[in-house]
């Protein structure tokens, strides 16, 4: 194929959401000379960080402490979070949220002018900072707008990174499809940070936007970097039936109740392990409680399956309008329910990947020069279950640290062999050209996507069992086989979204494979991984992280010790 364009920067960041933007700002602040390529398949303000609603956690009140935030996070993780990582996180969290305040984030306020905090699931006290119920939106736009100050953050919007470029065992840049032109561009840099978010779209019913296809996870996985703790998939208890649109946990933080078909507040009347916390228990437990209510015949029939009610009526119109205006708008728009007047139908919905690219605290991976942060990464903050409002803060704390660490690597590195890297880019251009509109007929994209989604939901849902997971492993392998025969009918070079979808589906299938294999191997119940045939936690055999390595003939599994510390594993009961 023809000659591809080569672009040089000191650091390439893939993804322009919360973690990517924070990494970019940290990097340019760390060194006044370097330049950053911020490469995103969308415009940064479209990134899925925008959809986060409830808040970001950091100690702010006199009745709170760093230790309490640490303990809550360890316990929430079902003792699989690495305690050194958690310690660093809780110490940095208040600084990062303060920084965002200085950059203009419109945090909601107390009467005295200080930042207001609200209650959240699994948190001992009010430590979740919020901007009404559009926290991700405000954080993302604040970061994006602040990033515009820096001429040295050079954006490449609507560029889909399809390959990591490697030379002599180190990452040396990326090849990216310019979606608008169909041309591959080669970005050469001695450090690459993956910040592409999670992979909720491997499931059929998810809060995630359509862009959450695990791109960064798959890019790293294929180069031999392991994915860690992929079996831990968080179901958020409260999604709207049908669409899966998120109704924030803040609705319960502000006093909302969960009710079954009899109008019973089942979290207070039955033992689901959440104790006095009731609706403010952690997400894994509340999701299981809802499924059990439905299985016991106490769910409510609807056109999209059975659901339960989230009741905000007693919270009152004033508080709903002030603190939960987006919840009201979403419920009215997407299920025709005004929460001031009626309870909202909700059911558990895939929300967040605790697992991701295995990194250390710097965001560094096994591959020299390659970093990851945010939901893409698994730095082991969240263990087997993430607490709500820790992930937005995670994007800031570990995005910033990865940005700074990448700069150190970039400073000492050589230029990379342009001829070698250009050739890799040309090969990528040839591959994509061959894929584009290659065959009418063949397997249909939507059919394969639905088959993958259905397999994941059947085997890797809230409750899992060995037979189901084994079947899912096989089905995913079959869909991967059929993917080789994918039909593509759009031959245009310009804004070919069918081609992008094909690449995304390939990424999702790799991530789905890792999730299913990791799930099958963990023969215990811990956090979000709940097995019907292994009902209890087994610290003797499974107090470790799981690693999945890519292999052409199927993945290879390994494990890695969890980092313990002052908090000794105990029964997780609230």
């Amino acid at each position: 194929m023809g000659v591809v364009e080569v672009i040089r920067h000191d650091v390439v960041i893939v993804g322009g959401g919360g973690a990517g933007l924070r990494a970019a700002i940290a990097a340019v602040e760390a060194d006044p000379k370097i330049t950053i390529a911020l490469v995103s398949k969308v415009y940064p303000m479209r990134s899925h960080t925008v959809s986060a609603e409830g808040g970001a956690a950091a100690v702010a009140r006199p009745d709170d402490s760093i230790e309490m935030h640490g303990y809550d996070t360890v316990k929430g993780s079902d003792f699989l979070g690495d305690q050194d990582v958690i310690q660093y996180f809780v110490e940095e969290a208040p600084k990062e949220l303060t920084r965002l305040e200085h950059w203009g984030c419109p945090w909601s306020r107390n009467e005295d002018g200080t930042v207001a905090t609200r209650a959240f699931g699994g948190m001992t006290t009010k430590r979740t900072w919020f901007a009404a119920d559009k926290v991700g939106f405000h954080m993302l736009h604040t970061l994006f707008q602040h990033s515009l100050r820096f001429e040295r953050i050079v954006r490449y919007d609507e560029h889909f990174v399809s390959k990591l470029l490697i030379e002599n065992g180190a990452v040396r840049g990326v090849a990216a499809l310019d979606i608008r032109t169909g041309n591959v561009r080669v970005f050469i840099a001695p450090a690459v940070i993956l910040t592409t978010g999670g992979a909720g779209k491997i499931f059929p019913f998810t809060t995630n936007g359509t862009i959450k296809t695990g791109d960064g996870m798959a890019l790293a996985y294929r180069t031999g970097v392991p994915l860690k703790d992929m079996e831990f998939v968080q179901y958020h208890p409260t999604g709207l039936p049908g669409t899966g649109i998120l109704i924030t946990e803040a609705a319960r933080g502000e006093g909302g109740y969960l009710l079954n078909r009899e109008g019973e507040r089942f979290l207070t009347t039955r033992d689901y392990g959440v104790g006095q916390k009731a609706e403010l228990g952690p997400r894994d437990m509340i999701s299981r409680a809802i499924i059990q209510e439905v299985e016991a015949g106490r769910g409510i029939e609807g056109p999209y399956g059975e659901y339960v009610h989230l009741d905000l009526r007693h919270v009152g119109a004033d508080k709903i309008n002030q603190r939960l205006p987006f919840v009201r708008e979403l419920a009215k728009t997407y299920v025709g329910v005004d929460p001031v007047e009626q309870p909202i139908p909700i059911r558990p919905v895939v929300h967040y990947m605790m697992g991701g690219v295995d990194t250390n605290m710097d965001g560094a991976t096994l591959l020299p020069g390659l970093f990851a942060a945010g939901e893409t990464a698994c730095v082991s903050l969240n263990g087997a279950n993430r607490l709500g409002s820790n992930s937005l803060t995670e994007c800031l704390v570990f995005g910033a640290r990865a940005g700074q660490a990448a700069v150190k690597v970039a400073r000492g590195a050589g230029a990379g062999n342009e001829a070698v890297l250009r050739r890799q880019g040309e090969e990528e251009q040839a591959r994509l050209d061959a894929l584009r509109g290659r065959r009418k007929g063949g397997e249909r994209m939507s059919v394969l996507r639905n088959a993958m989604n259905a397999a994941m939901e059947r085997g890797c849902g809230v409750y899992r069992d060995q037979n189901g997971m084994r079947a899912t492993v096989q089905e995913i392998a079959q869909v991967k086989g059929r993917y080789a025969d994918l039909g593509l009918s759009d031959a245009s070079r310009v804004f070919n979204t069918e081609l992008v979808q094909a690449l995304e589906l390939g990424n999702m299938l790799d991530v789905a494979e890792a999730v299913a294999h990791a799930a099958l191997a963990r023969k215990e119940s811990r956090g979000a991984h709940s097995c019907r045939d292994y009902k209890t936690r087994d610290d003797q055999n499974f107090l470790h992280h799981s690693l999945v390595y890519f292999g052409a003939a199927g993945p290879r599994l390994d494990k890695k010790a969890a980092t313990l510390g002052c908090w000794v594993p105990e029964e997780r009961k609230y």
């Binding site: 925008v50 515009l148 939507s446």
Partner: protein
């Protein structure tokens, strides 16, 4: 909630590699009664014609990707209920923007405008993180909060009669965000932004049509922001005449 009826979607198609001018294509779609316009476009893409190109992501009216003209009106298609329309629905790219392909429009011009208003906190001296947060009362927050709700969906540019005649007009969303920072109690950059606002093709080009505020899916009310910005830009200019060194004494 789940019965279906068939509607015809007349969709603009344009591929610069193959077409000199945009054309239209019709699709018959079995529509569920709770669907939005975006659901029908996704159905077309998945089940009828994979060559259709459109942008979307969050499908919950916050990422701002899926703005299009529906029956001639700028709409956020993930929020725009199909039940209000008849048997035939016309879907076109947002008006007043160059078209890249099908329903995908060019946003680069907007991003340039957006940057011109310096949409970030400007301070003579930045506060250290160790000094904690700025104090801001709920009233001070409320003063600008509404103008911080813009999702950059571009519906206001598609509706604006001034943009239609004067493509370089700074436009509703960019002015609203600049004004949002001007009235944030933490910001000290109003004088800089007011100089931008007094330039050609900015706040004084606005003709008070109010179309922007009518189409805004987030009730940002950019028309109100523009009016306030005009007043402040004039006041800032008057002060610069009265006070020495452009009103920046000390």
């Amino acid at each position: 909630m789940s019965e279906t009826e068939t509607k015809t979607f007349v969709v603009t198609r344009f591929d610069p590699d193959r077409h000199a001018e945009p054309t239209t294509q019709s699709y018959e779609v079995p529509v569920r009664s709770d669907w939005k316009v975006l659901d029908a476009l996704n159905y077309i893409k998945d089940e009828i014609d994979p060559t259709l190109s459109h942008r979307w992501s969050c499908r919950m009216a916050v990422c701002g990707s899926c703005g299009m003209n529906v029956n001639g009106q700028p709409k956020l298609t993930c929020k725009d209920s199909l039940a209000q329309y008849g048997d035939s629905v016309r879907v076109e790219p947002l008006a007043n923007f160059p078209v890249i392909r099908d329903l995908v429009v060019e946003l680069e011009g907007f991003l340039e405008k957006f940057k011109q208003v310096k949409p970030w906190i400007i301070r003579a001296k930045e506060k250290a993180v160790t000094e904690g947060t700025y104090s801001q009362s709920p009233e001070e927050l409320e003063a600008f909060r509404q103008f911080s709700m813009c999702i950059n969906c571009m519906l206001c540019y598609a509706a604006c009669p001034v943009v239609a005649n004067e493509p370089d007009f700074l436009g509703p969303a960019a002015i609203a965000i600049g004004h949002r920072y001007n009235i944030d109690s933490r910001d000290e950059g109003a004088h800089e932004r007011n100089q931008v606002f007094r330039g050609e093709g900015t706040v004084f080009s606005c003709s008070y049509a109010n179309e922007c505020s009518e189409v805004c899916p987030k009730h940002v009310d950019p028309a109100a922001a523009i009016n306030q910005a005009k007043f402040m830009a004039v006041l800032d200019w008057a002060q610069s005449l009265v006070l020495p060194r452009g009103g920046e004494e000390k």
